[in-house]
Amino acid sequence: MPLIEVENVRKVYKMDGVEFEALRGVSFTVEKEEFVIIMGPSGSGKSTLMHILGALDVPTSGKYILNGKDITSMTKDELARVRNKNIGFIFQGFNLLPRMSALENVELPMLYAGLPAGERRAKARQALDLVGLLEWADHRPNQLSGGQQQRVAIARALVNDAPLLLADEPTGNLDSKTGVQVMETLKVLNENRGITIVLVTHDSGIARYGKRIVRVLDGMISSDTPEEQVTIR
């Protein structure tokens, strides 16, 4: 059973009475333990696709089955549950809560999962250890470097044992050296722990970490190539 099944998904936005079709029938599947890179120029609809894959938004038509569950017509609160259990987000701007320590930021998804405090603490420390930031647990985001902040965000994405990790330009705010570190961390997670990763970027340098590249253009998938062909090009 594939982790992600997207079937003829369309997304139409209405702005000032004018309809704009951001996605015009997108279909593809992602198997478990894949590392998929989604690429495309701005305005191609890759962000919209990302939001739908992340259960932050629902398609206008079509079907989206995540981890065996059809989430196409779920309510806002049902989607929140799905995100909490199945998806870990990594954003370009890190999106950590500024007034909380790294540990508390990592605890956040478990807070909404309703885990007791002791278990939250233990699992959060474990996740921070995994990204090599255990000794920074009590620091606030503004006391950490960009790379460290992004790794805290990765720990937060992992902590609820979500099968899918969605990364939106994770290296966009980092210099190339720390960007490589973050990508290496993601690669290790994918290879050693079998976490499925879908990563959106327009940086072709990043693309080589993926095992498969999906290109989006004008709201449609223009190409879907496995790793071997990527490296050849």
């Binding site: 929140a80 999106n95 809560l97 998804p109």
Partner: protein
């Protein structure tokens, strides 16, 4: 599902992390609750004060005075016709079953002389019932007897002020004083009652038997007349019954036909007290409702702060939603936050109001009473204000779209 205690912790941290803003938001509630409590304390204090004044006068008393009569179409004022007699008083006591005791009075003023000392004071001719009806007690000597009444003996009981002025600190009992140059034997001294509620010295008095006052001291326009009759009713429940009995009896005795008005007036102290209490109730209600307007304004202050807070924390809301917070979780977080603000403000307001009412009673010599009920009312109202005015900002926060909230700068 996030537990309620965790929500409270999250909200508490948000409040603490912005102390200045939280403090200002609370200030409105503090002032509002404080004002409500102080105003209600003033009202309650006034009620207590009136009650104590009334009960010192005796709330189960009827006071009968000679009343208005119409003579040839002209109404003549109260007391202008000396219509009450000592026999009326005796009849009331004998014939009205709900009457416990009566006091008939015939008063005048006179100069009292002892040795080379003299003192002008009120001389009250009283019946033996004075000790029961007006609650007088003796510090020394004996009370009047029926024998004193029958034979109009020349005996007197002194109020403590008079005793002090004439005798200093020596015991006056057994001494002879002169009232209007007539020698009287002092048979007792009254226990001090202090000032009356309107500031008159109640101890500046000399009591003599009513018959003595009538026959030996003061001239009477009509034989056997008294200036007032005070009736002590057996219990407060019987006030209306007693009033009815007394009125009927006196109309009968004065041969008033059913077409004529009473030639006496009966004043019911319980009614007067009720009226006074009613007016203080209205007053405290008025003060309280004016003060609650400020509480309302405080609530609007909280709403303002919460709206700003929601806008400022749009991104935080987006992050929370992305990692799995439902709109209900977000709503509850902000609702708890405004509830905490207003309740903390309410608690501080209770303290502030209590101190304020202390200061008020100290500065203006008003009695204030902070009732537990008014504390509960003000506190409950402030919590309600926080929740009601927090509802809209919390609802607004819960409606946020996570995608847009995450993009918010």
């Amino acid at each position: 599902m996030i537990s309620f205690t965790e929500t409270c912790r999250v909200s508490f941290r948000a409040i603490v992390s912005n102390k200045m803003r939280s403090g200002l938001a609370m200030l409105g509630i503090v002032i509002g609750v404080g004002a409500v409590i102080a105003m209600l304390a003033l009202g309650a204090g006034a009620t207590v004060q009136i009650k104590s004044v009334m009960s010192s006068m005796g709330s189960n008393l009827l006071v009968i005075r000679p009343g208005t009569v119409t003579s040839g179409g002209i109404r003549i004022g109260a007391g202008s016709v000396p219509s009450l007699t000592l026999d009326d008083a005796k009849a009331i006591k004998a014939e009205c079953p709900s009457v416990e005791e009566i006091l008939a009075q015939f008063n005048g003023s006179a100069q009292i002389v002892y040795g080379n000392q003299n003192w002008s004071t009120q001389v009250a001719g009283v019946t033996v019932g004075v000790f029961v009806v007006n609650d007088w007690k003796l510090t020394s000597g004996r009370p009047f007897t029926d024998q004193d009444m029958r034979s109009a003996t020349k005996v007197a009981i002194l109020g403590s002020t008079v005793a002090r002025e004439l005798f200093g600190y020596s015991d006056p009992v057994g001494e002879i004083i002169r009232i209007k140059k007539i020698p009287f034997q002092v048979i007792g001294v009254l226990e001090s009652k202090g000032e009356s509620s309107w500031g008159r010295d109640q101890d500046d008095i000399v009591m003599v038997p009513v018959t003595t006052a009538q026959k030996r001291l003061f001239g009477m326009p009509r034989p056997n007349m008294v200036s007032s009759i005070t009736v002590k009713v057996k219990s407060e429940d019987l006030m209306a019954v007693a009033q009815e009995e007394v009125t009927l009896l006196l109309r009968q005795r004065h041969k008033i036909t059913s077409f004529q008005d009473d030639d006496f007036t009966v004043r019911n102290m319980a009614q007067a007290m009720e009226a006074a209490q009613q007016s203080t109730k209205v007053m405290s209600l008025l003060l309280g409702s004016i003060a609650s307007v400020s509480l309302l304004v405080g609530g609007i202050g909280i709403m303002n702060v919460m709206l700003v807070s929601v806008t400022e924390r749009t991104r935080e809301i987006g992050i929370r939603m992305a990692v799995g917070a439902t709109s209900k979780d977000i709503m509850l977080q902000f609702l708890v936050e405004s509830g905490m603000l207003s309740m903390t403000g309410g608690f501080a307001g209770v303290l502030f109001g209590t101190i304020l009412s202390r200061i008020l009673s100290g500065a203006f010599e008003w009695q204030t009473v902070v009732l537990p009920g008014s504390i509960a009312l003000a506190f409950g109202f402030s919590a309600l204000v926080g929740i009601v005015f927090g509802l809209y900002p919390a609802y607004k926060a819960s409606l946020l779209n996570p995608i847009e909230a995450l993009r918010y700068e």
